[in-house]
């Protein structure tokens, strides 16, 4: 976990190091004198060699959890990021839940009717969601729900109703991913020996499906959920910009337009850290419920106790 975060920080810093153009010139405007530019560069530490800058930046994050200051505004980035992160997380997590609630039943349904009309139709509908640009869908939803019907606020933050459109717009794409994964792991389980055994014992079709097949089929789905969080955190960038939700993503888009590269860099890194944490959590959950891994752990513990 720590090495990955460190690696991510170094990688992003290195990529951003090659930014063309002089951000200082832009900050000070076209009339600025070379002396002013030089002073500002020194002030921001831009004249230091790569290694020194990297060391300062990474050191700041790792030792003090300090992302430095915004280049355009003189405000500390860390504070801003932490203020905004809960909104981004809330949107991403809620979208994930929606994806699970809708995606998994579609997947089960499709698996049960494998290769029949209902399977094709269900997967087709799920795939439509993954086939549209998020910002296009978001705008269309605003037109429909806010302008035409006037039932949901078109943008901004406030009560929970403000999050309904963004969350749905964001979750659309992942539904298909969840459905796909559920369907294929269901198919695999349905064909496996123990389900055949269960069937042959005369257990009802429904019971076999939900009591035996589904729980096993969901195991691989959990890893997909982890990866899906990555897409959701990335997708939140666009969704927040459209719905004017002041999360990390909107902070980042604003910073891209303002060439506030420290903010861009720090936003990517903090989202990557969050992503890494989620993956860790997923691994833990996986270990918790996967009987094979559980057995392994139990075995270890036993042998430790003995030894």
């Amino acid at each position: 976990m720590i090495p990955v975060v460190l690696g991510v920080t170094i990688l992003i810093f290195t990529i951003m190091y090659f930014i063309p153009g002089d951000p200082v010139k832009l900050m000070l405007g076209p009339d600025s004198t070379p002396e002013q530019i030089e002073a500002k560069r020194a002030d921001l530490g831009l004249n230091d060699p790569y290694v020194v800058r990297l060391g300062k930046y990474v050191g700041g994050i790792v030792l003090e959890f300090d992302f430095g200051d915004s280049w355009v505004y003189n405000t500390p980035v860390t504070h801003e990021l932490l203020n905004r992160l809960p909104r981004t997380l809330a949107i991403a997590l809620a979208s994930m839940i929606i994806q699970i609630i809708i995606g998994i039943p579609i997947g089960v349904f499709a698996a049960v009717y494998q290769n029949r009309f209902w399977d094709r139709l269900a997967m087709f509908i799920a795939l439509i969601g993954i086939s549209m640009p998020e910002f296009w869908v978001a705008l269309m939803m605003v037109l429909l729900f806010s302008v035409e019907w006037g039932i949901l606020p078109p943008f901004g933050i406030g009560g929970i109703q403000y999050y309904i459109l963004p969350v749905f717009a964001l979750s659309l794409a992942g539904i298909a991913t969840q459905a796909r994964q559920t369907r294929s792991s269901m198919l695999e389980i349905i064909r496996s020996d123990f389900i055949t055994t269960a069937r042959s014992k005369g257990i009802s079709q429904m019971r076999t499906l939900f009591r035996h097949a589904l729980p096993n089929a969901l195991l691989p789905v959990i890893t997909v959920i982890g990866n899906g969080m990555g897409r959701l955190l990335g997708g939140a960038v666009v969704i927040e910009a459209i719905f004017s939700i002041p999360g990390v993503g909107m902070y980042m888009v604003g910073a891209i337009n303002a060439r506030d590269y420290n903010v861009v860099m720090s936003s990517v890194i903090i989202l990557a850290i969050v992503f890494a944490l989620i993956m860790l959590l997923v691994d833990l959950v996986y270990a918790m419920i996967d009987p094979r891994i559980k057995a392994q752990f139990a075995g270890k513990r036993r042998s430790k106790n003995n030894g």
Binding site: A90, M96, I101
Partner: protein, 521 residues
């Protein structure tokens, strides 16, 4: 394995909780209270509200609601009018005394005196973001309500005005007591007090009952507090501005695209206000020796080949005006008679002839440099197409703003540059930006050395007589070192009940000072 079945609802509840938590923190004002409020949609977050830092798209919209200044200009070319200062005395060419009102108090009750004013300017000079204060040699306190400004040199027309309207005045005590140097929570003397700022989302201001200036007629038109509460809502997506107005989520927006404005024309419940922007979009030609545009004929050919009237129709129908000089009618000293002159009216045949006499063969490649901005992209795509009709192939190089500001001064990077000039209040301000040969290695923005142009420009900017202004305009127009394309209008859409808009010198709406009809909320 059943755990997973439990896990889903737990996660679900958790995220609903998060959503509520996120919602709760933000929705202090969501509960509909009866206080009358006006909501202004702004296009970018100010980010940093501190008084002496650099300008940004978000910041420019909030400045006059938050801060107060020594003087203000009613409109371009006017003399300074009193604001926090009641008077100005000229001691000699470079020394000026400014007299403050005695009863200025900020919202925290701090008395603002000459010491605060001098300190504000000194801090602005030290921080070096606000460019005009760089003209100041020193600033000092004469007595409790008098500040002395000494300039580095005798000011040109408009220079002193810029200096004295530039830096906000705040209380030193309050500023030093602030943990973040006013970045999020400034304390100022203005009639509104910032009560909530959610970065990236909104600013909420509440009216002060104890505003220091009792006779509002003495101050600028934007120190009125005509409504209890002012909300500035950040909306970065342009399409959402029109939707926000349609759904009555906001009351005023200056960011509605010209196409969407049509939806509000003649529609009940909305009014539209139109103003001209002071940004002029121009083409700067690279006139360096050896460059194709060292040829006057070719520069003229370009201008004839471009149909700026049709361009306005396409880029921003009803929301742009073709230019007739380098600069627009918003600037002081602009002469309306120029509009009746022929300013390279669209004429393909003539353009072809001129291009041919300049020795241009069909298929000639020309490089255009442009900043990466959607409206500018439309403009250059039109130019590209229109130039193809006279056999010139235009290669468009779209770059980020930072790169643009570097390449702008590189005489090998472009043949034509789509530039915008504004800055300052007088018609010669854009001219100085485009043609002044005293900066920039002694060349114009198009790398030209032309002594006649420079002497006419110096004459125009120092004497500022109609004759000197016209003389420069005529000469530049004929030489066509740069060609004025168009300027955009600011169109503001407001809901019914907003009777009169009040804007500051930077053309930004000051929402609390607008006039509202009694029925408005």
């Amino acid at each position: 394995m059943k755990k997973i079945v439990f896990l889903t609802p737990v996660l679900f509840l958790f995220s609903i909780g998060l959503l509520f938590a996120a919602g709760q923190g933000d929705s202090k004002s969501a509960a509909a209270d009866a206080t009358p409020e006006v909501v202004l949609a702004i296009g970018a977050d100010p980010g940093d509200l501190a008084p002496f830092v650099g300008m940004s798209n978000g910041r420019i919209t909030v400045l006059h609601t938050i801060y107060e200044y020594l003087f203000y200009l009613d409109k371009a070319g006017d003399p300074l009018s009193p604001y926090l200062a009641k008077d100005l005395e000229k001691i000699d060419d470079v020394t000026y005394h400014v007299f403050l009102y005695e009863n200025i108090y900020d919202s925290a009750g701090n008395h603002i005196t000459a010491e605060d004013a001098a300190w504000s300017y000194q801090t602005a000079m030290d921080m070096n973001y606000l460019r005009p204060v760089g003209d100041i040699e020193s600033v000092s306190v004469v007595d409790e309500y008098t500040v002395e400004f000494v300039l580095k040199r005798k000011p040109l027309v408009g220079d002193l005005e810029k200096v004295l309207c530039e830096a906000p005045i705040v209380s030193k005590t309050a500023y030093e007591a602030s943990s973040d140097k006013f970045a999020k929570n400034p304390v100022t003397s203005s009639p509104y007090k910032l009560s909530q700022y959610i970065p990236g989302s909104k600013l909420v201001f509440e009216r002060r009952d104890d505003y220091w200036q009792k006779d509002l007629s003495l101050g600028p038109k934007y120190n009125r507090a005509n409504i209890e509460k002012v909300v500035m809502q950040v909306i970065t997506e342009p399409a959402q501005h029109s939707i926000a107005l349609e759904t009555k989520t906001v009351d005023i927006s200056a960011m509605v695209t010209s196409d969407d404005v049509k939806n509000f024309e003649g529609r009940d419940g909305y009014s539209i206000f139109t103003f001209q922007d002071n940004l002029a979009v121009i083409l700067q030609f690279n006139g360096k020796d050896g460059s194709p545009f060292a040829s006057k004929e070719l520069r003229q050919a370009m201008a004839y080949a471009i149909d700026s009237k049709a361009m306005c129709q396409a880029v921003a129908p009803g929301a742009s005006t073709p230019l007739v000089t380098v600069g627009n009618s918003n600037f002081g000293g602009y002469q309306t008679k120029w509009e009746n002159e022929n300013y390279y009216a669209y004429d393909v045949a003539r353009a072809k002839a001129l291009a041919a006499s300049a020795g241009v063969t069909p298929g000639t490649r020309i490089r255009l440099l442009q900043m990466n901005e959607p409206r500018y992209s439309l403009i250059t795509q039109i130019i590209q197409y229109q130039l193809s009709e006279i056999g010139i192939q235009l290669e468009i190089n779209q770059v980020e703003a930072s790169v643009f500001n570097e390449l702008k001064y590189d005489d090998s990077a472009w043949d034509i540059m789509l530039d915008t000039v504004a800055g300052g209040n007088f018609i010669f301000s854009p001219w100085l930006l485009a043609f002044d040969q005293t900066k920039n290695k002694g060349l114009t923005g198009g790398f030209v050395l032309d002594n006649k142009l420079q002497s006419l420009l110096t004459e125009a900017s120092s004497t500022f007589t109609p004759e000197s202004i016209d003389a420069f305009h005529k000469y530049q127009k004929d030489m066509n070192y740069a060609y004025g394309l168009l300027s955009f209008h600011n169109i503001v859409v407001a809901v019914e009940g907003v009777d009169k808009l009040v804007r500051d010198e930077r053309n930004q709406i000051v929402p609390g000072s607008c006039e509202f009809s009694p029925e408005f909320k």
